[in-house]
């Protein structure tokens, strides 16, 4: 059913005899982040249904990558529905822009953009079930209430289960504005709910993209030019075709795919392909050249992102000025499940199984490649073996669709780890030049911040950034929480051929590292305590100030530390949430050992504290791997690291103790997947300074100089 409507809210009940209650609800497009047009027409999608056995089925439109989408979606519905948590079943939505609004799972949007809608869906169901019971008993509905998938008549204690009521509930009028619960009455929200997939993930039953098999499919391995932007000059596939198990060799625009009856045979065939590459124009690119380019570009006047007051006067009248330069390398996503996609292109249809954070973009890409209308392209979203932003892009989907189309068979394309690491869309390298002016009282009166680095949007669509300003590259640098009377925040776009993309917390991770390190430098220059220095500038940011105070108290900021341990603090407001972190470190033989991370977070309400805590631990491990170990370097136009031997990942023995303190402010909801990433690295590096007097201005800190 397609209906053209302008209303942003739309709820509809449907019920055929014996089918129970089915509630459809339109979740409007929640994100312009990815530049997708908002759908104007839609077919209402089934958000929740209750069958006569009482099973409540809830659809999750967002991708599950370990962050708990399939747990927090049902939590929000079940809370208002007053459903028994044990009766909940979750199903994963296929891609469908006409039904779900944006399904892109990124920007830490999952909970905060669904909260009102899913609660309303649950409340609507609850009110209709209560109406159904009241009409059956012929009593006033105000004398009935719902609890644990049952409606109870208060005076007589009679009860009917949701399963018994489901058919009748479908015939009740749909309430326009069902009452939502007061947060103090929440029974599921805010409690420790185990992730719904834990058993499957502990038994090998969880199905990731790599695990999907369909009849007749072949396994594919794709050789790409090691140099960014290169392509095939000539190919001799004779030897590859002779490898046992190899069935086809197919050339597509960016490489050569070997198709075989096993993954191993496909990889073996690929190894013996004779390909001469056309390296293109970037074969001389190197990290050193990029660094020098950034240095040169530092002299340029940046595009203005934010300006307040008069920095010239602030600096000329300063009692003290401080300047520093911070440099960050490219880093990889390297989720444990390498990129993969199963595509089955037929003459009139295309079916795809993919672990993607952005299934609707996968669908439209496949539609363009195959020439099929969008509704003929089905995209099933599998579980993801990690995302971290890498799977917002669907380059591997494009490849699989092209290969399946050319070979006329279903194809499961699997990237090797080497493919994954050498053809990642990296977190951009960057250079940050900052100067600060302190007055005679040690107050920060002037701030001049210039960020130099590639633009994710600008490298893909330069025409969109004619003025050189990509505001997202200045995220967390524009609108800083600190009250600084005179400031200038600017950006110099420095694009290169190295592919880049969104990496958990995107540009906030680089900017906050530079900002929070420099704030620390200024505090020391002003001979003030780094905590007190921050707090004094946070009066216009009460939520952040509160978490900074909380983390300081929980970490025992003013308590003396044992010899050999240093303590540092950093904080950030991003993705709608407010986070402060205190790190405790020791240093042995130039190796930084992070012993303890104390994290305080205000994301409004902690809908699912269990997954929230896990997300904070995840943010810490990803951020610290990048800060202490991770570096992708470029030489001869290609990535030098290709596997975990050259690109080490933090291990269990290196993982700090993480203490999470949730501040429920009941203010508007923020995200949770990303906000704890940016302040982790500066907290650690500030602790290193407190301990050693050595200021870290370049990452990763593989050794203390």
């Amino acid at each position: 059913m397609m209906t053209s409507v302008n209303r942003r809210d739309f709820m509809k009940a449907a019920g055929t005899a014996g089918a129970g209650l089915v509630l459809s609800f339109y979740l409007p497009s929640d994100s312009k982040l990815f530049g997708e047009p908002e759908a104007e027409s839609f077919a209402p999608n089934v958000w929740l249904s209750i069958d006569p056995k009482g099973t409540v089925t809830i659809t999750s439109a967002k991708t599950e990558m370990g962050q708990g989408a399939r747990t927090y979606f049902p939590i929000m519905v079940a809370e208002e529905l007053e459903a028994d948590w044990k009766s909940i079943k979750v199903i994963q939505a296929d891609a469908d822009p006409t039904k779900y609004g944006s399904q892109a799972t990124g920007g830490s949007t999952g909970v905060r953009t669904s909260w009102d809608k899913l609660r309303k869906a649950g409340a609507t169901g609850r009110e209709m079930l209560i109406s159904a019971a009241a009409s059956k008993w012929n009593v006033d509905r105000s004398t009935c209430y719902a609890e644990k998938s049952t409606v109870i008549h208060r005076p007589t204690k009679r009860s009917l289960t949701y399963g018994e009521l489901a058919d009748n509930a479908a015939k009740q009028p749909v309430p326009e504005n069902p009452p939502l619960k007061d947060p103090k009455d929440f029974k599921i929200v805010g409690t420790w709910v185990p992730q719904v997939l834990t058993a499957d993930r502990s038994t090998g039953k969880a199905m990731f993209g790599i695990d999907i098999k369909i009849p007749g499919m072949l396994y594919a391995s794709l050789a790409r030019c090691p140099v960014f932007g290169g392509n095939v000059a000539s190919l001799d596939a004779t030897k590859a075709k002779a490898v046992p198990g190899v069935r086809q060799v197919v050339q597509i625009d960016n490489g050569v795919a070997v198709l075989a009856t096993s993954t191993w045979a496909a990889m073996q065939g690929r190894e013996v392909l004779d390909i001469r590459w056309n390296n293109g124009s970037d074969a001389a690119l190197s990290s050193e050249k990029i660094r020098l380019m950034f240095e040169e570009y530092s002299k340029k006047e940046g595009a203005e992102g934010e300006k307040m007051g008069d920095i010239a006067t602030a600096f000329s009248g300063a009692a003290k000025t401080v300047e520093a330069v911070y440099e960050l390398p490219y880093v990889s996503h390297s989720p444990m499940e390498p990129m993969n996609c199963l595509a089955d292109v037929k003459s009139g249809s295309c079916e795809i199984w993919v672990p993607s954070q952005n299934p609707q973009s996968a669908q439209s890409l496949a539609s363009k490649i195959t020439g099929l209308p969008i509704e003929k392209v089905t995209v099933h979203v599998t579980l993801l073996g990690g995302g971290f932003g890498r799977r917002l892009d669907n380059d591997y989907v494009e490849e699989a669709v092209k290969i399946s189309k050319a070979a006329a068979v279903p194809v499961q394309l699997l990237w090797t780890r080497e493919d994954d690491m050498t053809h990642d869309l990296y977190r951009p390298a960057s250079r940050h030049v900052i100067s600060g002016a302190l007055d005679g009282n040690g107050n920060l009166t002037g701030w001049n911040y210039k960020m130099i680095g590639p633009s994710i949007g600008g490298q893909r669509s330069p025409e969109r950034y004619k003025d050189g300003l990509d505001r997202s590259a200045l995220s967390a640098a524009i609108g800083m929480p600190y009250a600084i009377p005179n400031l200038l925040v600017s950006y110099v776009m420095a694009n290169t051929a190295v592919p880049i993309g969104a990496w958990r917390s995107v540009y906030a991770s680089q900017n906050v590292f530079a900002i929070e390190s420099f704030i620390d430098e200024l505090a020391y220059a002003a001979k003030r305590d780094p905590l007190e220095f921050r707090l004094q500038m946070l009066n216009k940011s009460p939520r952040l100030k509160n978490v900074v105070e909380t983390v300081a108290e929980k970490a025992g900021w003013n308590n003396p530390l044992p010899r050999g341990i240093g303590r540092g603090i950093a904080c950030a407001s991003c993705f709608g949430s407010h986070v402060a972190e205190v790190a405790e470190v020791s240093v042995e033989k130039d190796k930084i050992n992070v012993r303890r991370m104390v994290v305080a977070v205000d994301c409004g309400i902690a809908v699912a504290p269990n997954t929230l805590e896990a997300q904070i631990e995840g943010a810490v491990v990803l951020a610290l791997t990048a800060a202490l170990k991770g570096e992708i370097t470029i030489k001869d136009g290609r990535t030098q690291q290709s596997n975990f031997d050259a690109y080490p990942i933090m291990t269990i023995g290196e993982m700090p103790k993480v203490e999470v303190h949730i501040v429920n402010s009941y203010e508007p909801l923020g995200g949770i997947g990303e906000p704890a990433v940016p302040s982790a690295a500066p907290a650690v590096c500030n602790a290193v300074f407190a301990l050693t007097g050595k200021r870290v201005r370049s990452l990763p800190v593989t050794k203390l100089g």
């Binding site: 502990s202 090998g204 995840g618 990942i649």
Partner: protein, 156 residues
Amino acid sequence: MASISLTINGTKQTVNVQPDMPLLWVLRDTLGLTGTKYGCGIGACGSCTVHIDGEPTRSCATPILSCEGKSILTIEGLEQNGHLHPVQEAWIEEDVPQCGYCQSGMIMSVVGLLKQKRNPTDADIDDALSANLCRCGTYNRVRKAIHTAARKGGAS
């Protein structure tokens, strides 16, 4: 092609595959046992860990030819008579997994560790799992679950 006889999760099997094919791909592609994961192909990440004659081993770097006559245990074979292994039960109790991709290998390494040391110290854990990588941040819960499993006699 080679004909290789081996025991997988208690069942004798013969597979006809290329002799240099790693055990990982025989399990996943030939036998459909997809619980064992590919992560790096060089034995560096631990996602592919299975037991060969009781020893935790990286299946991605183990040619099938070397498995002739051996007994293989994968994540699918941990469950006995409808009961999860105590390590799996501890995993569920502590709600360990995030994305879950590395967890099969992690669990197989832990089952091996608890066979060697019924009550491992934190240092034992760091050592035994030093090449089981997780990008999501489950390490602290992994550690907690190992202690839980040990307390409940997880070596069984």
